[in-house]
Amino acid sequence: MPSVKFISHSGVESEVHVASGTTVMHAAVDNGVSGILADCGGACSCATCHCFVDEAWLAKVGEPDDVEAQMLDFVLDPQPNSRLSCQITVSDELDGLVIMLPESQI
């Protein structure tokens, strides 16, 4: 199973293994990784699953769609590598993905 490494704002690393097809949001929530709230459960409606994609993975992860991009404009501390983690699906191609978490979602 592909792995995803989460790095909290204070630098704590947690690596989780999830089935392909799982979203990065679920990879965090299902494994009790704090820092992702995901209040809407993955409907791209709340912007509380904001994360930063490690630069090395940006190209493979791809760009947000228009809805997600509009929401990202308003998260706390938006960066060029900001994404909503419910919109990134883990696959074998993303095995080893590194995700940084923001200080706060709201």
Partner: protein
């Protein structure tokens, strides 16, 4: 930190969050979540949307997998209905006569559907929509070419209509009031949703008075007061919910349109907190007591309740927000529009697939209904949370960036 047993009654959004937040907050004692359904807490919003439309499996609905609770030392006591809260002996009694002692109790009992006492209400093929089991039963009656009549033109009714159109069904929505979504939105938003649903092939009848559900053993039609009979292979009734307050009431807790809690989610018993759809609570942003039926309230109030139990008193003060997905339309609502006296539109409601309605009381912005306008939703959520002021004229002018309307 307490080593008492924390027992959570109810096993939906608020309960799942309460359990997780108690552990995160350092609760050392045992934690049990007691619910009458057979599966761990799951996301309810997709029930009328992706799950009904067959786009999601029930495993994908779980808020967290069963393994999470096990790892966190949270006992899931499923398939168990609580029949009594015995405050004197600090225990809850279950339907099978068993009991569970508690040190602290959290009531997350939620809400149940409001039922209509219509002739024919007990025919096969007549459903309400609240639980996973409801949708599983509904799905055994759905199929291309079949006819569905939906009683109630609120969010649940309209989402159900959209999902059933996706399934290739012929769909009629009956609304008792002059317009759909009348209780919760401005006329422009109602008009927009009526138009879209008609464009998508849904037959909407407003001012509809249902007289009876007709059929043999299974429903076959819906009879209206004007004599019209609509064919129906299936009827879904979505006319609101009522808070589940019986346990609290019987236990002598203060109840008034919901279990009465203070800003720290405490009931009138110091050992009992409550969170979610079942509570009547104070919202400081709008200076009113209210009951909210939403995931946001369930989740956020559960965090407050968990903090309280962990000895960290932090007042609940979150801005309410909601969402509804129908077809390609993403409606996001920030704030509470009740009591509005004017509405400012950004974009056109009578054409196209997206606009925003900003609700005002005098010059105070109360809320926004943003349809396919996530940026406007996010802007208003921020503005209402942080107290920004707004220029209504700029809001209405789409040539001006939304951020320029706030200061």
């Amino acid at each position: 930190m307490s080593t008492e047993h924390a027992v959570i009654v109810g096993a939906s959004h608020a309960a799942a969050q309460l359990g997780a937040s108690l552990r995160q907050g350092g609760w050392q004692g045992k934690i049990s979540i007691v619910g009458d359904e057979a599966i761990p807490p799951y996301h309810r919003p997709p029930l009328s949307k992706a799950y009904l439309a067959g786009e999601k499996h029930s495993d994908e609905l779980l808020i967290r997998p069963a393994a999470f609770y096990e790892k966190s030392g949270i006992d899931l006591v499923l398939g168990s209905r609580v029949t009594e809260v015995d405050r004197e002996n600090k225990k809850i009694v279950l339907h099978d006569g068993g009991s569970i002692p508690y040190g602290k109790l959290a009531l997350a009992t939620g809400a149940r559907v409001r039922k209509l006492a219509l002739p024919g209400h007990d025919l096969d093929g007549v459903f309400y929509l609240r639980d996973l089991g409801d949708v599983d039963r509904i799905r055994s009656f759905t199929g291309p070419g079949k006819s569905a009549v939906i009683v109630g033109g609120g969010y649940i009714g309209l989402e159900t209509a959209a999902s059933m159109r996706k399934l290739g069904m012929s769909v009629t929505v009956l609304e008792a009031l002059p317009r759909v979504l009348q209780r919760v939105t401005a006329p422009e938003v109602s008009g927009f949703y009526s138009r879209i649903h008609r464009e998508e092939g849904v037959h909407i009848i407003t001012d509809a008075a249902v007289e009876a559900l007709e059929g043999g053993s299974s429903v076959a039609g819906v009879k209206l007061a004007d004599g019209t009979v609509l064919d129906a292979d299936l009827v879904v009734i979505g006319v609101g919910v009522l808070p589940c307050t019986e346990l609290a009431e019987a236990a002598g807790l203060a109840v008034d349109n919901g279990i009465v809690v203070d800003e720290f989610a405490r009931t009138s018993d110091p050992n009992i907190v409550a969170a979610g759809d079942c509570t009547n609570h104070y919202n400081p942003l709008y200076d009113i007591r209210l009951r909210l039926e939403s995931v946001q309230n369930a989740t956020d109030q559960a965090k407050t309740a968990a903090n309280t139990l962990c000895g960290k008193l932090e007042a609940y003060h979150t801005l309410p927000w909601f969402w509804s997905d129908q077809y390609d339309l993403k409606l996001q609502i920030a704030g509470l529009s009740q009591g509005f006296d004017s509405v400012v539109l950004r974009g056109a409601s009578d054409t196209g697939r997206g606009f925003s309605a900003f609700y005002f009381s005098g010059d105070r912005l109360l809320a926004v209904d943003a349809i396919n306008r996530p940026k406007e939703f996010m802007m208003v959520r921020r503005a209402l949370t942080t107290g920004l002021s707004v220029d209504a004229a700029k809001l209405a002018d789409e040539t001006i960036d939304i951020q320029q309307a706030f200061s």
